[in-house]
Point group: C2
Chain length 106, copies 2
């Protein structure tokens, strides 16, 4: 996977899909934060929201790694978690699509 | 201030005032978090809310120090910031009230 060549067009598609997944996930985090804030029974539980955001920030900082050497694995994970679908990667070469499908079947 | 003697009754009053201030401040933090969440223009700004909560958590962890050796200074600060008033400390000995007033005038 590390030696794959990404064409200019593929890089554009990859970047778009990557950004879309990030936006979808961060929107989900925002909505979950809103739900939590609305259902707080005690103001002190605000720190539980802080813990939640700390965890999510660490998780997304690690997950959204846009290096071509790891991008196949990153996309596999983002598809598996539902932040994007294979449709969002339409236009990538068969070599990449095949690898992603292989990872998804593991 | 470190050698002040706190009677059982004074300790009860102090603990109540301390808890009231904490509840007031954390409620304020919660309300500010709600305001921020409602006015987010971009989901990525959720991390600004996280930064805000990190700062407030550090600040309150440091500020709410219930040791009798520092309590006069803590109460002075809590009054100065508006989380409690002198009325909440009614019943403390004159030695304590005088010290707090002296700190507030500094």
């Amino acid at each position: 996977m590390e030696n794959m060549v990404w064409s200019k067009k593929e890089k554009q598609i990859a970047r778009q899909a990557f950004n879309k997944a990030y936006k979808n996930e961060v929107t989900d985090i925002m909505n979950k934060a809103k739900d939590r804030l609305h259902t707080l029974e005690n103001p002190k539980e605000i720190w539980e929201l802080h813990d939640f955001l700390t965890d999510k920030r660490d998780e997304t900082d690690n997950k959204y790694d846009y290096r071509y050497s790891v991008l196949i694995l990153v996309f596999s994970r983002l598809i598996n978690e539902g932040w994007i679908t294979m449709d969002d990667l339409k236009g990538l070469g068969e070599d990449k699509i095949t690898k992603i499908n292989q990872v998804l079947k593991l």
